[in-house]
């Protein structure tokens, strides 16, 4: 029999600093317009700080903005690129959102994307040339989902069985996944016709995801949109989704009301991992078509920030992921038009997510 965790303690007497904090929190409430102004102000502040940094680095902030918008949305082909990159980032963001609703922190998006791509490559290179396209696509996506689920499930199991914090284990697993990727691309899966470069054999044409008629986008976009809607429905309108939410809200209360908390937590991790795995598979089958080191580099962390910004609500998470994809991608074009280092967009992403952190309104006590 497991030991009961102690009952939550009642509210502490706030320290002087603590009461200062609660007074400023109270100021956040107030009329709706005041709140809107405050929130808008907070995000504008992020942009202004970013602009200030850009200016200090010698660039005109408006030029920077223009360059970012043009290389992610308005320039020729940019929007397509942004949408294509939003596929793995959106799915990885959902991979953060679902476990988060169950109270778990999944920082393993990077690793789950990678193992999804690895599974898709293994399957796609093996059968891609000899079976009809749709069979390959389904097999690759299924393989990616399975791989991602396993990768997240490892961390999930460690959490429910041993109480090991999943934020740390998923993070460590990212490094392990990366080493597996390096091993495969430099050793057994290296393309013998690739002239020594670390890349897998390319997918046969019919195994690559087809383009949507008349555009540069592949059907992965449609699959992603469908998945977003499925997740939204599952999370908001099913018993499972509700049970997850309750578990995430108060584990002890959930357990007492008869919910199988451990299974729910594990299922949330598995679902999240599967989604990220699919993201990795779609990216491989649709965009990269060959496994290489650095595939989807940093996508997982950008996705984490997006889910956090959207408070893990599925639809908002998808929108945030789209926005963040655009921002993350806009970095490469910045160098040419403004002389700024592309990584400056990391600062913008961080500042944007900083805003809600600063405006946190916590109910309840420590």
């Amino acid at each position: 029999m497991t030991t009961m965790t102690p009952a939550p303690v009642k509210a502490p007497t706030p320290s002087r600093l603590g009461s200062l904090a609660s007074r400023s929190r109270k100021r956040l409430e107030g009329t709706g317009w005041q709140r809107l102004a405050l929130v808008t102000g907070a995000y504008l502040a992020s942009l202004i700080v970013f602009g200030a940094i850009a200016a200090q680095q010698g660039a005109n902030p408006f030029t920077v903005l223009h360059a970012m918008l043009s290389s992610s949305i308005f320039g020729g082909g940019s929007l397509d690129q942004t949408l294509l990159h939003a596929i793995p980032i959106t799915l990885a963001a959902l991979a953060v959102a679902i476990p988060a609703r169950a109270g778990l922190v999944n920082v393993g998006g990077e690793g789950q994307l990678i193992v999804g791509a690895i599974a898709a490559t293994g399957i796609g290179v093996d059968i891609g040339a000899s079976v009809p396209g749709p069979v390959s696509w389904i097999a690759m996506i299924a393989g990616g989902a399975l791989a991602g689920a396993v990768w997240a499930g490892l961390a999930g199991l460690l959490r429910i069985r041993l109480g090991v914090n999943e934020a740390v284990t998923t993070l460590l697993l990212n490094f392990v996944a990366n080493d597996i990727l390096l091993y495969l691309t430099y050793q057994p899966w290296k393309d013998p016709n690739g002239l020594g470069q670390p890349e897998s054999k390319p997918l046969a044409i019919q195994a690559q995801l087809p383009l949507i008629f008349g555009s540069q986008l592949n059907i992965g976009i449609i699959i992603t949109v469908v998945l977003v809607l499925v997740v939204w429905w599952a999370v908001k309108h099913t018993g499972w989704g509700f049970a997850i939410k309750v578990t995430g809200g108060n584990q002890e209360a959930a357990r007492r009301s008869g919910l199988k908390v451990r299974s729910l937590m594990l299922s949330a991790m598995l679902a999240g991992g599967a989604l990220a795995g699919i993201g990795g598979a779609l990216n491989l089958a649709g965009v990269e078509t060959q496994l290489r080191p650095d595939i989807t580099l940093t996508f997982g962390y950008v996705a984490f920030l997006a889910s956090f910004l959207a408070r893990h609500e599925p639809l908002k998470t998808a929108l945030a992921a789209l926005l963040f994809s655009a921002i993350a991608l806009s970095g490469n074009g910045l160098q040419l038009s403004t002389g700024l280092d592309g990584t400056i967009t990391d600062i913008l992403l961080g500042l944007i997510v900083l805003a809600p952190l600063v405006m946190t309104k916590r109910e309840g006590a420590t």
Binding site: L36, F62, S70, L297
Partner: protein, 387 residues
């Protein structure tokens, strides 16, 4: 329990974003104060050339060599404007960068990293009016009319550096820090050892990898492990070299450089090295393009610069003060030999570590064979993972 999030937040973000977009849309891009250049439309024959680098342009190594040459070409060739981008990873990001460069008016793009090849080739096929050059050493193939790949026989000056190392080592142990066991690296390791053996039959090269093209901590640990073995000359095949050079300096040992002349980092320890001198090649390619003769030229193919052809972009770096004149003479004499047709670093007899004959006596390896090398020659200590 947990956070209560005002729905207001979404509205707030949208409001802020809308405001920002409005400002951006109304501002003109001409207010840029950056150093990037716009295509000049005055005086007809101005050509904008873009260079894309995989690492930092100040890495004292591979990418800095590209950058320095790109700037040289901007001044030495009339009517050329140069734009550069660095730290572009070997992913789709390079396609985007090429797109951006074309939007900025580039008509020629140099994609200067091995891993850019598939993206560069695809881009060339999709944009027949843009000339794309890939830097990295691929074998012959059918190239579109607006695409070419180029490289140099890198192992030639590496073997000369090996001669310097072999001549100056007192422990007969040399150290080589590498990233991954790709054929070009194996060729470099073998060439280094062969060069050392030619002046010092007892020389051995110890090898350690870092699984990374530029991780300074791993480079330092690799260097430390090699130095503990008694190695007194270090060299490397990494993208950045300052950590290895400084490790040698701190230990008071010698170093042979790669990619770039970094003698200033360690004047006493620096023996020599291989340094990319891309400018003449870049200039030649650009001039060929400007005269409209690119298609069908030797650059519209797999171009390999060699000592024998007197156009190897990788050259022997200047000697440091520690290299005695007699050794310098020997090395320069060997360079002259390599400058003749038919000469090769890999001329037989050469044996692999396990005794198997790699090159029979009197034979010479072809460029293709060298670029698919997978055996370490006798004298190299350490193993490669089976490929």
């Amino acid at each position: 329990m947990g956070f209560r999030i005002p729905r207001i937040r979404a509205v707030g973000v949208i409001a802020a974003a809308a405001l920002v977009a409005a400002i951006a849309a109304c501002s003109s891009p001409g207010s840029s104060t950056s150093s990037a250049t716009a295509v000049s439309t005055a005086g007809g024959s101005s050509l904008t050339v873009g260079f894309i680098m995989v690492g930092s342009h100040s890495d004292y190594g591979y990418n800095q060599a590209v950058y320095v040459a790109s700037q040289a070409v901007a001044t030495s060739v009339a009517g050329v404007k140069v734009i550069t981008a660095d730290n572009i990873p070997e992913t789709d990001a390079v396609t985007q960068t090429m797109d951006s460069m074309v939007n900025d008016g580039a008509k020629v793009i140099f994609a200067t990293s091995y891993g850019y090849f598939p993206y560069a080739e695809a881009f060339a096929k999709a944009h027949p009016n843009i000339i794309v050059l890939h830097q990295g050493g691929y074998l012959d193939g059918k190239f579109p009319a607006n695409f070419g790949t180029y490289w140099g026989e890198a192992y030639e000056p590496v073997s000369l550096g090996g001669m310097a190392a072999g001549g100056l080592t007192k422990t007969n142990k040399l150290g080589f820090v590498y990233a991954f066991p790709i054929s070009q690296t194996i060729a470099n390791i073998d060439a280094f050892e062969l060069g050392a053996l030619s002046v010092n039959p007892k020389a051995q090269t110890y090898i350690v990898n870092t699984s990374n093209w530029c991780d300074p901590l791993k480079q330092k640990e690799a260097a430390a492990a090699l130095l503990s073995q008694g190695v007194d000359v270090l060299t490397q095949h990494q993208d950045c070299q300052s950590t290895v050079i400084e490790a040698a300096k701190a230990a008071g040992k010698y170093v042979v450089g790669y990619h770039y002349d970094a003698e200033t980092l360690d004047p006493t320890g620096w023996l020599t090295g291989s340094a990319w001198n891309w400018a003449p090649l870049y200039e030649s390619i650009i001039k060929t393009i400007m005269s409209g003769k690119f298609t069908g030229s030797k650059y519209n193919a797999n171009f390999v610069g060699t000592f024998a052809d007197h156009d190897n972009p990788l050259t022997l770096a200047p000697f440091g003060s520690s290299v005695p004149a007699s050794l310098q003479t020997k090395i320069l004499a060997e360079e002259k030999v390599l400058d003749t047709a038919g000469a090769s670093v890999f001329k037989g007899p050469i044996a692999c570590q396990n005794g198997k004959t790699l090159v029979a006596a009197g034979q010479v390896m072809t460029y293709a064979q060298i670029n698919s090398l997978s055996c370490l020659v006798k004298g190299v200590v350490g193993t490669l993972p089976a490929s």
